[in-house]
């Protein structure tokens, strides 16, 4: 029982990072209705930016900001260079899926050219593990969980309380109708990608911290798990996605703890296949699709 609680503690860390990554992915899906397969590379960009800035400045906060900004800019570039033009050109969601997969491959290889394919060791001092209730967590773990909760809360406020959030929800429900009412859908989508990129870039930084190293392929591996969480929660639905992320995080951590962590991807996809076959629209679907409900 005690061991299970310990695992649950670690699972909360995984789930927090997964929730950030998955909510960023689902926001992009919400405003464009296409899956951005190069989402993982936003996390990779965040990890590299954080590493480079951390080496120069020695400040973890500067590194976190750099990661978020790099992620935001990467996502914005993906939207304005690839996804936006493809959507305007009238490409089907599958075509955009293939194109973003191609982009992800390009970005990974360009990163290999600049930084090499080997692992970069990068970790902050996690501090001594402490007992928090039944859990055993380091101060770094606590910071990761707290920051994920804070970011989610701010995101909730942005989407539910601001004018931009209203426009975002309108575009996600019906792009054409939103356009008719005077919303610049392309601009809202671009801004949403930037916002999602900020979150995903930060997630890349925290993920690199918690894993302790990264390489050009690191984001793609995590994207596969992100996809499981996002599909389980329902593509394009932020709240469902977060619940999906927590569930997938917990399942993976327990499976990894009791079986073997090397099978994590296979487990993630087993969950994914079951969810898609049984509830293709996500586990928590209602008739109406909204970003937050």
């Amino acid at each position: 029982m005690n061991e299970a609680l310990l695992t649950l503690g670690f699972a909360m860390v995984t789930a927090s990072i997964l929730a950030l990554s998955a909510v960023a992915f689902t926001l992009q899906y919400a405003v464009t209705n296409v899956a951005n397969v190069s989402h993982g590379e936003i996390l990779t960009a965040g990890a590299y930016a954080a590493y480079l800035v951390h080496q120069r400045t020695g400040s973890a906060i500067a590194a976190a900001i750099a990661a978020a900004l790099a992620g935001g800019l990467a996502a914005l570039a993906m939207h304005s260079v690839v996804i936006g033009p493809f959507i305007r050109f009238g490409a089907s969601p599958t075509i955009v899926f293939i194109a973003t997969l191609g982009m992800s491959f390009v970005i990974q290889n360009v990163l290999v050219i600049f930084f090499g394919a080997s692992n970069v060791a990068y970790s902050l001092d996690p501090g001594p593990p402490q007992h928090l209730g039944p859990f055993l967590l380091t101060p770094l773990d606590v910071e990761i969980i707290a920051s994920a909760i804070a970011i989610t809360f701010v995101l909730y406020l942005i989407i539910s309380r601001t004018k931009f959030g209203k426009a975002l929800r309108a575009v996600s429900q019906n792009r054409e109708l939103a356009r008719v009412t005077g919303i610049n859908a392309t601009r809202v989508a671009a801004a949403t990608f930037f916002l999602a990129g900020l979150i995903a870039g930060y997630a890349g930084f925290v993920l690199a911290e918690s894993v302790g190293s990264f390489n050009p392929y690191f984001g793609f591996g995590f994207f596969l798990i992100t996809l499981t969480a996002a599909v389980a929660g329902g593509l394009g639905r932020a709240f469902g996605t977060m619940v999906g992320a927590v569930m997938v995080g917990i399942i993976l951590e327990f499976a990894g703890g009791y079986v073997s962590a090397s099978y994590n991807l296979a487990f993630a996809f087993a969950i994914l296949a079951i969810v898609i076959l049984v509830r293709p629209r996500g586990l928590f679907t209602s008739a109406r699709r909204t970003v937050f409900e």
Binding site: F97, N109, V112, A266, L277, P280
Partner: protein, 330 residues
């Protein structure tokens, strides 16, 4: 003929068989299947398992039956078909579009992870090796002439596969697959069993993948997880099919030629640039990365600017459309 030229032609023929198989699934049936290279891997692993000897410690793997190569190829193809059938049964039942792609992506990762991590099956990360010059001693070939023999074998097999695909392309089955790609509901309304047809196309594609994998195993004489990646290889295949012309088998062959030449020659040219060549000897992965970036870029640019490819599939036009055939009412 230089060794370089022989290896290009052998690889090209094997790659061509893979591309023709992928064309059945993506070009005709219209499904973006990411598990495809998994079937190539199953074919290659299975061929090795059946032809090499039993494992000696510390290696672990199943079988090791030392069967003759042609028999091993047949069993390898059947195994790839069986794996394809299982994935197809799950993925093609209700899923289309990106959901199909996501599930097949999952399937190939499961194959990759199991092959790489579950050691007793195919010796995990070490993989299998030891298939030297299959059928070579039947004809008493030395190392040099064996290279020609294998090249000839691969080219002949490629030609046979091409002729088979040519026949299928114009057959009722080939036409029916294309109908599904264009409009599934209309095909269903005309009494087509969509699931069954798609499944047949999918298993045919997996068979060609397994066959290419079996030839690849003879060419490489070894296979292990670092010889393939679940997604990287399949992107190159998709790029070839797309560049040549999705659905048109002549186009697919053209695509394989173009991508082969583009990838080989451009990276060779790049390595001759001052600075880069020297850089390459220090960082051998740079050239591979340049190659990958180039393939991805070609894929994205073609999708955007010429999705029908260089040799587009011939569209069947109704010479007497229903609306016009009716007498004009004025």
């Amino acid at each position: 003929m230089s060794a370089y030229f022989i290896s290009i032609l052998t690889e090209g023929a094997i790659f061509g068989i893979m591309a023709l198989g992928l064309n059945v699934i993506w070009g005709w049936s219209g499904d973006f299947d990411l598990a495809y290279y998994g079937y190539v891997a199953v074919g290659a692993y299975m061929t090795l398992l059946l032809t090499i000897g039993p494992p000696t410690a510390p290696a672990h793997y199943i079988l090791g039956l030392q069967l003759p190569y042609p028999l091993a190829v047949v069993i390898a193809v059947i195994t790839a078909m069986a794996v394809g059938l299982v994935v197809g049964l799950i993925a093609l039942r209700h899923l289309r579009g990106i959901y199909f792609s996501i599930v097949t992506l999952g399937a190939v990762y499961v194959i990759y992870v199991v092959a790489g991590q579950y050691v007793p099956l195919v010796d995990g990360y070490n993989g299998l090796s030891g298939l030297f010059d299959p059928m070579g001693d039947w004809f008493g070939l030395d190392y040099q002439s064996y290279q020609y023999f294998l090249m000839g074998l691969c080219l002949v097999m490629f030609a046979l596969v091409f002729i088979l695909m040519w026949r299928i392309s114009g057959s009722r089955f080939g036409m029916a697959l294309r109908t599904l790609r264009e409009d599934e509901r209309a095909a269903a309304a005309f009494g087509r069993d969509i699931y069954r047809l798609k499944l047949k196309g999918y298993v045919l594609g997996a068979a060609l993948a397994g066959f290419a994998g079996a030839l690849f195993a003879a060419y490489l004489s070894a296979f292990n997880p670092s010889a393939w990646s679940p997604v990287g290889e399949v992107i190159a295949l998709y790029a070839a099919v797309l560049v040549g012309g999705r659905g048109n088998i002549r186009g697919v062959v053209l695509g394989v030629l173009i991508m082969g030449l583009l990838v080989q020659e451009s990276t060779r040219f790049l390595s001759m640039l001052p600075g880069v060549g020297q850089f390459n000897t220090q960082h051998p992965q740079i050239l591979l990365a340049l190659r990958g970036a180039l393939i991805g870029l070609v894929l994205v640019l073609f999708l955007r600017f010429r999705p029908q490819g260089l040799l587009p599939e011939r569209r069947f036009v109704d010479r007497q459309p229903v609306g016009e055939a009716a007498p004009a009412s004025t």
